[in-house]
Amino acid sequence: MNTPLERREALQQDRQVRYERMVEIRALENKVQDLFDEGLVHGTTHLCLGQEAVAVGVAAAARVTDQVTCTYRGHGVALALGLTPVQLLGEILGREAGSIGGIGGSMHLCDPEIGLMPTFAIVGAGIPVAAGAALTAQVRGTDDAAIAVFGDGSTNIGAFHEALNLAAIWKLPVVFVCENNQYGEYSRIDLTTPVEDIACRAESYAIGGTIVDGQDPDAVAEAVSSALDHARSGGGPTLLELKTYRYAGHSRADTAPYRPDGEFESWYEKDPIVNFGRQLLDEGVLGENGIDEVQATVNARIDAAVELVLDSAPTPVDAMFAHVLAP
């Protein structure tokens, strides 16, 4: 099994790996749902099915030394950045093998080696924190940057506004990536947000705001890359709105009955994995049986990870006393 850093480097260099990683994210999310349905997952979990291109595009564009904040819907971003399926499943299933030893669960992943800051279960909270990571780069004079990944619904909370304003006035090297998956919990975006395009909110801070096809990993990577370049060269922050769609319900048992008929189907036509796979086939990057092969590889990897994790040691009770305070 590759290390997180190796996984990240491979993804950055190779579009086929990006495809494979999207397949992995989807397979893993489906597996999490299965494990949940089998009663093996304690608590809750928020799947990013359908949003795989966002995760992979962001991870492809970011340097390993860039810092990324994301949310409870962060399995995809974490895997794309390099977190291994074992680290992820270990966390979700409460095992020592988890990325933080199983003390956090589905909503709390972290791996500083690949720039994955602790993920956030509080809506909006990661946005100013990413601005702060960018502040470190600015103060230290490195040309690293930071990326905040957050949902459409999060753009209605104060932390979003305050963070964008602060980053703009200080020209912090940060990219604000809004995954507009059309819903915040059970509410369609137009019930809570009076503007059609979230990107327009950039104007309140005199920064660039761009709408991006969040179903296309190349488009995402390109948009994030150019925003990162802008940031690194002292141009300040950018707000990117990635239009995408959440296939699953908000969390665990939600079957999304509130979705209008046909909405899922019409988005499925823009499925990032199907489309990118087709594209790579056309380009000859994937061979004739490439799609099936990737799926098989990924399935085997996930199955192995599940087995390994289920056989592994659960987080011991006394782990709750570790790392409360730094020494």
């Binding site: 997952v41 304690h42 608590g43 809750t44 409460g94 199983g102 003390i103 956090g104 669960g105 589905s106 909503m107 709390h108 956030f120 279960a121 509080i122 809506v123 909006g124 619904g153 999060s154 209605n156 909370i157 104060g158 932390a159 915040g184 919990e185 059970y186 509410s187 019930l191 809570t192 947000t193 509130y258 659960p314 987080t315 009770v317 006394d318 782990a319 709750m320 006393f321 409360v324 305070l325």
Partner: protein
């Protein structure tokens, strides 16, 4: 007497107040169409319509502030804060604005606002969604604070909160939403704020519990080799000194059972008051049974250990009675210190 789950009892209490008073409105994230993430506003949108039952954008400061403004101008809003931690993005409106409006208007303005929040561990929601956080609210003159311990108290306290002319926070232990019991509905079911309830009777100690620990303490008392008054505090601000003092004066021993970490926990206020006012009556040191001073861990087994169990409560009280001394908490016995 209908038998209902706690979330049903809450929905019923709100509905009853909404029927009685057209000024009662309900605000929160997904409280209307979806009837609340924990189904605590079931049927409200259907019966009372979208003018009075509203889904909000994700903006606790905004909608809690709007509720303060609405309350100050005549409505009686019931606001859902889905997890109590989300008060961390909105506390100003509750504590620094709403709680002080009556004072800062020389009594001219009242703020009949109810803020409901789910609290506590036990369902695997992780560190940022599992605390009880009474301490954020309790030291604020101008606020009242009540905590439900099951369907009947949830019903009774909710109705009292909505009727009260002050901002009242009602905390609902999340893991009790699915608990069922018979609930006295109607006027007879209303529980006055500031009044505690004797949940069990006995002679060896006074066990004061709140919210989720009421069940724990009652169970421990039922099993025990000892017998105790178990008091469900029900309200934390103000709390019922009369009932607690009367019991301690009789039993001579005070135990608090708290789901929160030791530091800053509500039990300290009760212990400090009793130690001051009933010093001469105490036959043993007051004992606080709490969670350890750690963030709430994920993982079923860890979370279960984190919260005081009835077995643990039983053991601690037994040892107190046997030795006359405060027993060390489980984590000290296991040589774990945060």
């Amino acid at each position: 007497m209908p038998r209902m789950r706690m979330n049903q009892a809450i929905s019923a209490a709100i509905a009853d107040e909404m029927r009685a008073n057209p000024d009662v409105i309900v605000l929160g994230e997904d409280v209307a169409v979806a009837e609340g993430p924990f189904k605590t506003s079931a049927g409200l949108l259907e019966e009372f319509g979208p003018l009075r039952v509203r889904d909000t954008p994700i903006s606790e400061m905004g909608f809690l502030g709007a509720a303060v403004g609405a309350a100050a101008t005549g409505l009686r809003p019931v606001v859902e804060i889905m997890f109590v931690e989300f008060l961390g993005v909105a506390l100003d409106q509750l504590s620094t604005e709403g709680a002080k409006f009556h004072y800062l208007s020389g009594g001219q303005v009242t703020v009949p606002l109810t803020v409901r929040a789910s609290v506590g561990a036990g369902l695997g929601f992780g560190t940022q969604h599992s605390q009880t956080l009474e301490s954020w609210v309790v030291g604020t003159p101008g606020l009242k604070l009540a905590v439900a311990s099951g369907p009947a108290t949830a019903y009774g306290l909710m109705r009292a909160a909505i009727r009260d002319d002050n901002p009242v926070v009602v905390l609902e232990p999340r893991r009790l939403y699915a608990q069922r019991e018979e609930v006295t509905t109607g006027e007879a079911g209303i529980i006055a704020l500031g009044q505690a309830r004797q949940a069990a009777s006995g002679d060896d100690a006074t066990v004061v519990a709140l919210g989720s620990t009421v069940g724990t303490a009652t169970e421990a008392a039922a099993d025990g080799s000892w017998s105790a008054d178990v008091i469900d505090l029900q309200s934390l601000q103000p709390w019922d000194q009369d009932l607690v003092y009367a019991s301690v004066a009789r039993t001579g021993r005070l135990v608090t059972v708290e789901e929160n970490p030791l530091s800053g926990g509500w039990g300290a206020d009760v212990v400090a008051a009793v130690a001051a006012d009933l010093f001469g009556e105490l036959k043993a040191p007051p004992l606080r049974i709490t969670a350890p001073d750690v963030p709430v861990p994920f993982g079923k087994e860890l979370e279960e250990r984190y919260m005081p169990s009835s077995a643990y409560v039983g053991e601690q009280i037994t040892e107190l009675l046997d030795t006359g001394r405060v027993p060390p908490p489980w984590w000290q016995r296991e040589e774990n210190t945060p």
